[in-house]
Amino acid sequence: MTPQPAPRPARQPQAAVGTPRSRVDGRLKVTGQARFAADHGPADGIDGIVHAVLVDATIGRGRITSIEARAALAVPDVLTVIHHGNAPRLPYRDNSFPDSIHPPGERLRAFQDNHVRFFGQPVAVVVATTLEAARHAARLVEVTYDAEPPQLDLVTAPAHEPDIYTRGDAAAALASAPVQLEMTYRMGRNHHNAMEPHAIVARWDGDRLTVWEKTQWVADPRNELAAVFGIPQAAVRCYSRFVGGAFGNSGRTWVHSVAAALAARELRRPVKLVLSRRQLYFGIGFRPAYEYGVRLGSERDGRLTAVVHDVRGETSRYERHSDDLALGRMLYDTPNFRQDVRLVPLDVNTPTWMRGPGWSTTATALETSLDELAHELGIDPIELRIRNEPADDPATGQPFSTRRLHECYTTGMREFGWHRRSSRPRAVREGDWLIGMGMAAGAYPAESAPAQAHARLGADGTVVVRSASSDMGPGTTTSMAQVAADALGLPMWSVQFQLGDSMMPPAPVHALAWTMASVGSAVQATCDRLRRKAVALAVGDDRSPLHGVPADEVVVRRGWLHTRADPRRGETYQQLLARNGRTHLEAVGGYEPPEEIRYSMYAYSAIFAEVAVDARLGIVRVRRMLGVFDAGRIVNPKLADSQAHGGMIGGLGQALLEHTVTDPRDGRILNANLADYLVPTNADATDIRAIYIEGVDNEAAPIGVKGLGEVVQVGVAPAIANAVFNATGRRVRDLPITPEALLMPR
């Protein structure tokens, strides 16, 4: 490995960053003191909260012919039933990128017409002073429909015009390739199933709206609700201090939030709305199902000459959600590549991002197809990948900022014991169990976005840093405090990072694994500025021991400002501020990504899996998994492990368990609960390990990170699928892999 200099624009010693810190809010969370969206109420000054419950459509497509609410309104404590027949027409101003992350199309509106676009669409909202009354009354709302048969078949439904990417001449290269393979992979629909259900508390004060919302981006509810109700963005404030998992499902503001805000406005009372677990399967988005056709052409030595991807992915009829399916363009050195992506509009609600969005989908197709090619050619799957490793980005021609994928392979081979893998499938048996090993690679863009922060150093020597980011679970509150602590030369306990308020300095959506690159860089820049302010105050103060010392010569450790040469010569922040009569020092700062991107920047993964397949019963058990990641600098190895293990367990679910099952007749979701929608349990996820290849990437972000939260799920499912093939000799191309797929006669 080539040693790279650590980024030291601040020339501050690194003390907190890089160390395995526990979550600063862990105690609050495990003792129930952390307050999530639905927990807000009188303690926050929200008095007189009433409860809203949605009524969901029970047809897959059609029109509402009547809504009878008399029985519901007769229930004691029920205040109102709002539906398209009595709801005010709302302005629904356009709210497109960059104010929102809505996909192109017409967003779903709350009770504005009688159309039913998908099974489960909200058709009314019932509000009552008690949750029980609202729930009961919601059942009593009688809705009649004029139903039409919904279009739900991804394979046969008409598709939009394809989005085509091409380089070289893939068709010609494929036709003349000595080795040709053609496969079709199918991936089932997945739901995020975060622990916290979507929830909102909405309160109007005159024309001003405040919401306590589950969101990955406090700016989004603000912008969307302002647009929907036709009020200035500044008239809406969104709080979201804690988020109980999201995985992409809270990036945009869904229609239930509008329903709650609408009910609050009509009733002039604060309204709380919490989606039921069942409603989370159609009230918010999901990872779309895909059909992924792959054709490969290669030389006999395994060098890829042509790759063709024909993709069909589901979206709704009213919006075009498209995942970023670009992994195939850049992972291997393929001169001829063509990818046709067809979105298929179905009578479903709009899909959305889900962990490793697009990249994990493509990885399943691409990385399984590579394994098929390796088997066909009799080449080790890792050797095949190394033979196709590009020198520069094959899509853009740009050099890679850092690409340590080869090192991920070699580290993984060594640590996993890859040499023990039999290249012949179905060769290793332990009793009833067939044992196999598989691997797959992955990548995810190392992107960043503008972000700002504010830091305030108090006379007591503690600092509060704020930015309007979110923490859906990675531990942002902790890792940002680490960054701030080092930039200011303070111990962790005297630093507090605050997030989750739309009035704070703006931050981008907490997604795409770019929060540390964006907000982290902003926090570092802001705290550097604040430290320099303090140093300037000291060296210019003739009563300071640091008077006259060049500012560059002053460093701060544990709150002690001193000269680099003589650690004893210095003073504390408290002494400095007190002597100068300052109550505080503060700074604002930010991060802007460079306008011109000169490098191809990605985080990489190499995932290894060992499975045991019961030869007689077809059940698959993952015995162990190893993920080796090139994600640049690791700010907190403990939190990184939490990310990596979670992502790999998510990939295990994709491979073997997770599948939203839809009734093809009406779009009803049959497993809309956590007993029937199978996510991995602890028993399914035993031996999981992550290794991070050391190194920073100074091109990707000033703070040297490439992002970890998404790449940890990219390549996991195909690694498991490839291990299943190695164990059984059976290639299952549909995810999740079920016992029946392995048992069916060939």
Partner: protein, 325 residues
Amino acid sequence: MRPYTFAQPRSVREALRGAGPDTAFLAGGTTLVDLMKLEVVTPERVVDINRLPLDGITLDHKGLHIGALERMSDVAADRRVRENYPMVAQALELSASAQLRNMASIGGNLLQRTRCGYFRDVSTPCNKREPGSGCSALEGINRGHAVLGTSDDCIASHPSDLAVPLVALSTVVHLASARGTRSVPLDTFYTLPGATPEVENVLRPNELITGITVPRSPWAAHSLYVKVRDRQSYEFALTSAAVALGMRGRTITSARVAAGGVGTRPWRLTAVERALTGRPATAATFEAAVVRAADGAQPREHNAFKPALLRRTLVRALTELQESR
């Protein structure tokens, strides 16, 4: 949730007073409360029976007696159960999740309702929930559904793991009503759906399970429960097998075999038992004995794998049991 009245009696007599078709008995609540939230079950009266003296586990010369209110986790942990009826403890431990097992009662387990997604969704037809409305599962998503004992009106599978070994071991259910008590073999306690899938057992509306007796037998201690499912915990069985063998040397002198996940009720396989009895406990015997285990199965679109998987599950259970000697 609909309004209902709530009572907490202290005696069986008191509990049964006034019980009728609109009364629901609440024990662990893991099925009842779930289904009440979904409005699949809408009792007007809920009688909490947790204060009734229906607990206790005893073992005597007649067999194992378990009170209806014993919790699944307590029964599974009981040394007498584990030693003398291992497959009963195994079936309990492979059921649900630890949290549910801590709450759920034995009586409630035997009465738990099917996991059919259409049964649990009041916005779709279901003959079991609403007689005569039709069966949505026949032409719908039916991977988890039954292949044995089905009818044109219902293919819902019986969800209980525990009931499978209990049926194999000729367990007797003790019932009480205002008119007195009676005992019914568990195998005939459950009824086939036929044209009346809303009727699942012979329990009368004003009747309560007070306990069960699992008879003593030379084979119960040599028994095994195998459960096949996608994930390793907290999932209903795709297929399961409860097997108990009485042995003399290498010869099977008696066999008790039942299957779960495949039937509209726990499915005793007497033909397999007969084919095993008197034969040597060998792979050949096992393979031959299960050949006709799924005779009469009526697979649907998504559960066509179940007959084959059932045979394999049975062979696995028999083989593992034999190897454990």
